[in-house]
Structures are given as C-alpha cells and as structure tokens.
C-alpha cells in the first residue's frame, strides 16, 4: 500500500482534469471532445478513490462505480448523438454547429 500523501493523488487527478478540460477547449472533433470529457470524469473518479483511500472507506470506490455508470450512459447517448450529428451536418466539427448564436 502506498504511503504517498493524499495531496499527491489529488494533484495527479487535478492535472489529468486540467488536461481533459484543455482537450475539450482545443479539439473541434466531437469524438475527441467526448474522449476529453471521459478524461475529466476519470480524473474526478481518481480523486474519489484517492480520497476514499485516505479515509480507508469504501465510499470513494462506490462513487467510482456510480461515475462509471454515468460515464457509460453519457457516452452511449453522446455517441448516438455524434452519429446523428454526422448524418445531419456531414462533419464531426463541433464548430460547424454554430447556427444559433447572439
């Protein structure tokens, strides 16, 4: 079992979270954006597991399982939307969808 400070776990999660967020901001391809969202969710899950490990409680892992469920559901709906999006817009460029603005 690791004896690293909890902050390091959270820091790692924070860095991954930031990278995921950066990806959402930078990428225009919706598939990539979804992947980056997954990275963010995964980072949050890591933070939970790290926190749960600090308190030696199962709660962190329980939350991880819930996040997993949510991620699965969200990705399923998201990817279905991507397919329809591609069918409609003939592209996966998220910036193509900017007809509503102002």
């Amino acid at each position: 079992m690791a004896s690293v400070p909890m902050e390091h776990g959270l820091l790692l999660a924070g860095i991954l979270f930031g990278l995921g967020f950066l990806g959402v901001l930078v990428r225009r391809n919706i598939v990539f954006m979804l992947m980056c969202v997954e990275i963010m969710l995964n980072a949050a899950a890591l933070a939970f597991v790290a926190a749960g490990s600090r308190w030696a409680q199962p709660d962190g892992q329980v939350m991880f399982i819930f996040i997993l469920t949510v991620a699965a559901a969200e990705v399923a709906v998201g990817l279905a939307l991507v397919l329809q999006f591609y069918r409609g817009f003939r592209t996966v460029d998220m910036d193509a969808a900017d007809r509503m603005r102002g």
Binding site: F21, V24, L25, V26, R28, M33, M94, D95, A97, D98, R99, M100, R101, G102
Partner: protein, 630 residues
Amino acid sequence: MIDLLWLIPALPFAGFLVLILAGSRLPRIVVAVLGAGSVGFSAVVACLIGIEFISSPLVKTSFTRTVWTWMSFEGFSPSTSFCLDSLSLLMVLVVTVVGFLIHLYSVEFMADDDAYHRYFAYMNLFVTAMLVLVLADNLMLLYLGWEGVGLCSYLLIGFWYKDPVNARAAMKAFVMTRIGDTGMIVGLFLLYNSLGTLEIHELMVRAVRDWPVGSVMATVAAALLLCGALGKSAQLPLQTWLPDAMAGPTPVSALIHAATMVTAGVYLIARTHELFALAPAVQAAVAVIGVATLLVAGFSALAQQDLKRVLAYSTISQIGYMFLALGVGAWSAAMFHFAIHAFFKSLLFLGAGAIIMSTHHEQNMFRLGGLRTQLPVTFWTFLAGAASLAALPLITSGFYSKDAILWYAWSSEKGSVWLWLGGVAGALLTSIYTFRMVFLIFFGEARTKVYKRPGTAMLVPLIVLAVLSMVAGFIELPHTLGDVRLFSGYLGAVLPPVPIPPGQASLEGILGIVAAAVSVVGICLAYLLFLKVPQIADRAASTLAGRALHRLWLEGCGFDWLYQRLLVFPFVTIARINRSDFIDFFYQLAAFLAEGLHQGLSATQTGRTRHYAVGIGVGALIIIGMAVWL
C-alpha cells in the same frame, strides 16, 4: 346580508369582465341583460343592505369589512376594506339606483350603436369604480376609485372616438381633472406622512387630536384635497372640461357628468369634513368658490344654444350650491342637494337624450320647439325635472334642498349675507335658464320633425326619476313647513348639524318666502323673454353690450380663452424651444450604454461550444480564486 357588502361593487365588476372579454361575441340582448342586470342586481343588494343597516343600531356608527388582504409581509399588509355608514350608504343607493335606471335607459338609447358591448362594459366599470370610491375606508382605495371613475369618464366621453372632436374633449376632461388629482395625491402623501395613516376614520381622529384649528398643516392638507375636489366636481377654476364632456353619449352625461362622478368632490369634502373644519380659511374658500361658480355657470347657461351644454353649465352651477353648503358647514344640506340633484339632473339629461334621439340628433334649442304635443311623456317628466331644478316652491324636491342651502348660507356661523345674496341671484338665474330651455323646446312652433318616439325602456326611468324629483324632498322639510328631519337625522351619525346662532331662527320663514319668490319670478321672466315677447331678449342681445355679454357667456365666461393664452400657449412655446430635449440626453446616454453593453455581451454568444466551455473555465477560475485568496 350586510356581510355581502362586497357584492355591491363586485356585481358590476363581474359584468364588466364578462362584457369586455366576451362581449363582442354575445348577442345584444345578452349584453343588455348583463350590463343593466348586474347594476340592477347590485341596486337590489344595496337596497336590502340599506334597509338592514337603517333598521339596525349600526346606523349610529359604521360597518367596516376587510374584503381582501393582498399580501402580508412583516407588518406591511395592504388590504381592501369597505366601510358602510350612513353617508356612504346614501351614495351607494344613489349610484346603484340611478345607475340602474340609466343603464335601463341606455339599453334602448344605444340600441343602434356598433360598440354596444363596449359601452356597457365601460358603464359597468364606471359603476364599480364609483362604488369603490364611496365605500373605500381609506383614502388610497378612494383614490383608486377616484382615478377609476376618471378613466371611465375619459373612455366614455371619447366613446365615439372616430370623431377627433370627441377625442379632444375626452383628453381635455382627463387633463383638467388630472391637475386637481395631482394636488390631491400630494395631499394624500402629506396626510400619510404627518399622520401615519390613510384610514379615513383614524385619519380624522388623529387630525383633530394633533392639529389645532387653523394650523398650517391642516390648511395645506385641506387645500390640497380641495384641489382634487375642484377638478373632479368642475368648480372654478377647473370647470371648463365639463361642458365639453357632453361629447359622450347622453346617458353617460346623465350618470357620470351629472349624477355621480362630478359630485365625488362633494363627497370627498363631506367625508373629510373634520379636516375642513380644522381649516376655516379653506372652508371659506369652498363657500366663495361655490358661489362664484354657481354665478359664472348660471350666466353661461343663460346664453347657450346647445341643450346639453345648458344642462352641463347647470350641473356646474348646482354643484356650486353644494360647495356653498359645504363651505358654510351645512354638510347634510349639501348631501341632500346632491341626492335630489342626482334625481332631477339625470332626469333632465335623460329627457334631453329622448328629445335628441327623437329628432335625429338635434341639440340646438332654437331649432327645436313645440315638442309638447308630440312627446307628451317626455314633456311632463322634463317639466318635473325642470321645476325641481328651478326650485318651484312647495311641490318640488329641488325647492326644499336649495332652500336649506340658502337658509344655512345666511344663518350659519360661517355664512354671510353676501353668500346668501349670491345664492339667491343664482336661484334667479337657474329658474330663468331652466324655463328658457323648457319654453324653447316644448312650446312655440314646431321646427323639427319627430322621427321616432322613445320606447318603454326609456320612458320608465324618466317616470321613476320624475316621481323621485317631485317627492324625494319631503323627507326633509324646513322648520316653518312641517319640520321633517328624516334626512339630516339619518346622516347625523356622520355629519354634524349646523350650529345656528340664536336669534336667527325667526328669519327662516321670511328667507324661504324670498327664495320661493325669486324662483317664481325667474320663471315668469323666462316666460316673458323667451315665449311671450322674445323681441325683448333679441333686442337686448343685439346691443353692443348685449352682444359682448352674450359672447362672453356663450364661451363660458372666457376661461378656455384665458387658459389657452396663459397656460397652453407658453407651455407649447417652451416645449418647442426645448425640442431637442436637453435633459433627455442623459437618459439617451443610459440607453446607449445599455445597448452597447448588450452588443458586447451578445458578441460572446458565438454559438461555439468550445467558447462556452471557456466561459465555464473562466468562471471556475474566478470562483476558485475568490475562494482561495479572499
């Protein structure tokens, strides 16, 4: 039964709602039943409540019922309460009963109008507002009703809005009364600010407690309230709107501009008479204004050719009598004249309406004539009203109500011989112009064809009102003539009796005889001048002085001309100079700024998801930053 007080204004209001929302789709008969029926039902409820109230010990006090509390928040709970006492009951009865009769009359009078439902909707709204005005237990609610009746008056004067003249008349009425209302609302603020309440009863108690007689505050407050009363009741110097208000349908003139709304000022002063009693200067002003008005309007009435304008000036003049009574502290005499006046003046207007309708909108008296035989019922009822207006001795109600005012104008502590003289001169004028009207219309040779005769719905109100004009006066007779005190006794709980200095009482009989004589003399003069030998009148009018006077009187003594020069013209000039409004610049700047900010923010809504995510990121950055560093 008395718990159903809220029903009295609620019924016409319900009628209004139905008519305004669905009236255009309803058949005319349903509109008529709804419009007149709701007021009629309200009148029935009012009568039942009135009977119960008078026969109960409550008559000595008052009955207040909160019908609606809007909200309640930490001690702030604006609520609507209705207060029934003998004064408001009198008003309610007059408003609902006369209102119902006029609605009934309108059913036939307006039958050919396209905007039938709109007419009845407005009329019902008017009745509602008037009832709110008289039943209000605080001045704020009273003010709501006050503005409500003003609005309805505006809507109904301009009822035939397609003619710009009517629209102008409506506008004029609205603006003139607003001038008074502005004074009144300032007065309300002042009262609330210094006495801490607007609940009328409590307000009066506090005013009497806190303010000595003649104190500045009381004087200012009373004067400001008087402003409102002057505007609404068309008294000098705000009287000029009323003759023009005749542009509306005639039943409207009967209800709003004769019987009810224009007497709201009288009601307001009577309602707050304690306050006016604290301000003797203002009260004296009321009396003087009353006399001046009744004379100015009397002279103006003498020169009019338009039938309805005669009646309009006559109304101004008669309200002048009420103000005179209020000014000398004869509160209940003023209310008595109000009630009687409501009967005979609405009768006269309705009669005028019948004549106008029968002759295809002929309002010029000089083109009418000899209608006595063709419109007999109208003639006899009109004659009854005219006799009452001219105060024909003994047999008419108007005699008793006017005689009481003249008597108090002389004998009251606040009265004087000059006020009395003015009143008597006015009485002479009244009977002259009244019978001038009667003789011109009904006697002499026929100059206009009668196209159609009024039907039952119009005649029934005429007859009922004629009877009332004749007999209603017998509930209050002077000491010298039977000494019946039903009316003032009934109002005694609210309005104190007039203190008469000792030694005056013996004069009552003599003064009564003088008043009666003046009235009869006036009628005779009218007979002489306008029927028997009209050449005298013509010759007098054709002299230089006569022409000038005639013109002056025809124009309502030139007030309109004066206001045009003194107020309207300078104001328009200033407005023209300041066309590129200087102060407006700041508001435009604010608007410009807001629009610029809008454009800036709008530009952030690019429609691109990534940019929105940047928004979330920046927000998170700021909020986390605030959490960490603050």
